[in-house]
Symmetry: C2
């Protein structure tokens, strides 16, 4: 018998037909003799509807329409009370569907487990999961159906974990339960070497290391939430990414080691026998470029630029500072999330006097393309290979950032697909 | 300063515009210096949608369509988890709308208060309300916005109180808080002498006693849930029934004694100075008549008829047994809820051998009309007056039931309006 955590996202529980399909997956694992906890998201679209209600309640939309500054500073504890109801509904429905299929099951809300969080409502972090009763009942043969995305904060209030938080719920539960595996069922059948819509020759990876998965998630692959990968790495939780649309009876027989050869296992790199230098190519189009022209080239200027942005909770990703032409001025380029661009420009305009620059430009016509692989650690020259392959295709690199296992380049958005295909071939990933 | 509980039903919180109207009512009371708790139902229609999801999850509809016997024996704890989410949403939204209007407020789920119930999920009874923290915060100026219809059962599971349970939530809270008044805001502006759609001369009662209100509710008036009136009577909670559609600024200034002369105050009969003999005429069309022909007239036959019905959880209301013609057989007539008629007939058909009867008939073409008033206790001859007035109009009485403060008659449904108008005039209630 293995102890498994299964997580199903919003599209997998979008209606009762799909919830029945989820139940079939769960039943297969139960029939295979496994003790199961199932973490569910809200039905697809439900969370957006609830968020819209909250914003309308606070007058967010009305004020935006009037042209006045919109304020999102509503009471996030109430946001959490409203928005968490979506997962409450699906957890109860799945428990009923499982019972109707003859599987013992009960629903658990975050506060019932309890899954404890800090007080950062709407984006809370998990501080502890008390699984005593839950685990005892699982080992007794009862499936625990858990409302994802939520826990209980100090003060006895419901807290949500932020968008995509159900992945994190699942991994945290798997860690607390010392589960053999955490299966993340999603709408793709695993982690690919790159987006198959861009590169038809992309293939699914059987295994990927935590470090690589973390870079893939951070660099634009949507398959897992970054925080959940961090947590899995930290706690050593084996995560299997697989498709909820596979026929339940064909979808493996619950082999605790690999999940029956389906999906992609996210695990420690020691478990991966044959390691490519580069495991995958990620790309992101949701970044925007900000350029400050003729900034004073003096100590402290970076703090004057990035301090106000940090205060406005705007994350800055890549930063490039050109060599000074005249020894007194330089150009500075960096990227932010596209959604933050207008706000970033406003912050910088308001700080123009303290920073001192000639002009300010913003653009969203950029893409970030990244090559990722733990093999880079032991292979020199990967960056050089990458830059020359892009140069051969006439693709100009606007900025570069690297880590031990990743090289990212910022390029003109028009060349994004070409760059991804070029790098996918270059590093031997085409099948 | 008074301590008030305000309750708003589903139509009063049907959308955000109406929730803003609710907030205006609450703000008026807060501005008047009162400490307020507000109990809310789910948005109109929401509970029905959630119930439909539960039934579909359990396969209820699918089985019904297949012609097989439908089973409602799903896990009511999961029903409660799903269905209680409707009130969770409105409580959070109203708290936000109040905050946006500058009123300090927070939402409370049943389990957060806690409002404790027994384990009879889907129709739980309140066993206790711990208002320590809630009341302290109310007296500190924070409006408590409470998800109605729900509490927490033994075993830490959410329990709902059954349809219309938010009225009961409000009264139970008012009792626990020792509130000065419990205002039930609804879609009518109070309790009427009878249904104004049937009798245009009906008028709103300024006050009505608990006993009368209880009979009115039991006999068909929909304005308050029966259980909430019982609880108010038992705990001595002063209940004001008023309209949520009144302009908030005109709707009284929070006079704890009477609520500013608006609505109908449900209170102890000692508080009612001028008491009519009859206070109101109620009628119900949702009952059905069952007649057993030629039942053996012997001891124990009633038990053989009503035992199986009780086992099937079918409530029987009025019962008439005719005088035996031949000393050996009699006809027996009784009423059940229309919704239970088919099931009642099936139960009786299955028990035909043990009961022994010639024929079985069911009909829904009946109405029950009731005259209600505590004044009956000290006035003889009310029943006689009533029967002769109906006889004058040619209305045949098929069955009679009485209590100390009520006389009900069962008549042909076609005469229901005529009977109500006749009795309304007879007892001097026309305005």
């Amino acid at each position: 018998m293995s102890l498994l955590v299964l997580k199903f996202g919003g599209t997998s529980v979008a209606d009762l037909e799909r919830i029945r399909n989820v139940a079939a997956h769960v039943k297969r694992e139960v029939d295979g003799g496994n003790a199961c906890a199932v973490v569910v998201s809200a039905m697809a679209g439900q969370t957006n509807q609830l968020v819209a209600l909250v914003e309308e309640a606070w007058g967010y939309k009305v004020r935006s329409q009037n042209g006045a500054a919109a304020s999102a500073h509503y009471d996030t504890r109430e946001y959490d009370a409203v928005v968490s109801s979506g997962e409450q509904v699906t957890s109860g429905l799945l428990a009923l569907v499982l019972q109707a299929a003859g599987v013992q099951a009960r629903s658990w809300q975050g506060w019932q487990i309890p899954l404890r969080t800090d007080a950062a409502h709407r984006a809370a972090r998990i501080t502890g999961v008390e699984v005593g009763e839950l685990k005892a009942r699982m080992l007794d043969g009862e499936v625990a159906v858990i409302a994802g995305f939520q826990g209980i904060a100090p003060g006895n209030r419901i807290a949500t974990l932020g968008r995509g938080g159900s992945d994190t719920s699942a991994v945290a539960l798997a860690a607390a339960l010392q589960a053999d595996r955490c299966d993340i069922y999603t709408d793709v059948d695993g982690v690919y070497t790159t987006d198959p819509r861009v590169v038809p020759k992309a293939h699914r990876l059987d295994r990927i290391s935590y470090e690589e998965m973390l870079e893939m998630a951070s660099q634009g692959a949507k398959v897992l939430q970054t925080r959940s990968v961090e947590l899995a790495m930290q706690k050593g939780v084996r995560v299997l990414v697989r498709s909820s649309f596979d026929a339940p009876d064909l979808a493996g027989k619950g082999d605790a080691e690999t999940g029956g050869g389906l999906g992609t296992l996210v695990c420690h790199e020691d478990e991966i026998v044959e390691q490519n230098v580069v495991s995958g190519i990620a790309y992101a189009r949701d970044e925007a470029k900000v350029t400050l022209l003729k900034v004073a080239d003096k100590p402290g200027v970076a703090a004057q630029v990035f301090g106000p942005l940090a205060e406005a909770h705007i994350n800055v990703d890549m930063i490039v500072q050109n060599v000074s032409d005249d020894g007194r001025h330089t150009d500075m380029t960096f990227t932010v999330q596209s959604a933050d661009l207008d706000r970033a420009l406003e912050v910088l305009r308001n700080s123009k006097d303290s920073i001192g620059y000639l002009d300010l430009r913003g653009s969203t016509d950029i893409a970030k393309v990244s090559a990722i692989g733990v093999g880079m650690r032991s292979h020199a020259g990967v960056a050089a290979q990458m830059f020359s392959a892009l140069a051969e295709k006439g693709i100009n690199i606007e900025a570069i950032s690297t880590s031990e296992i990743k090289i990212s380049v910022l390029i003109d958005a028009a060349y994004a697909e070409l760059a991804v295909r070029t790098l996918h071939s270059l590093f031997g990933l085409d099948r």
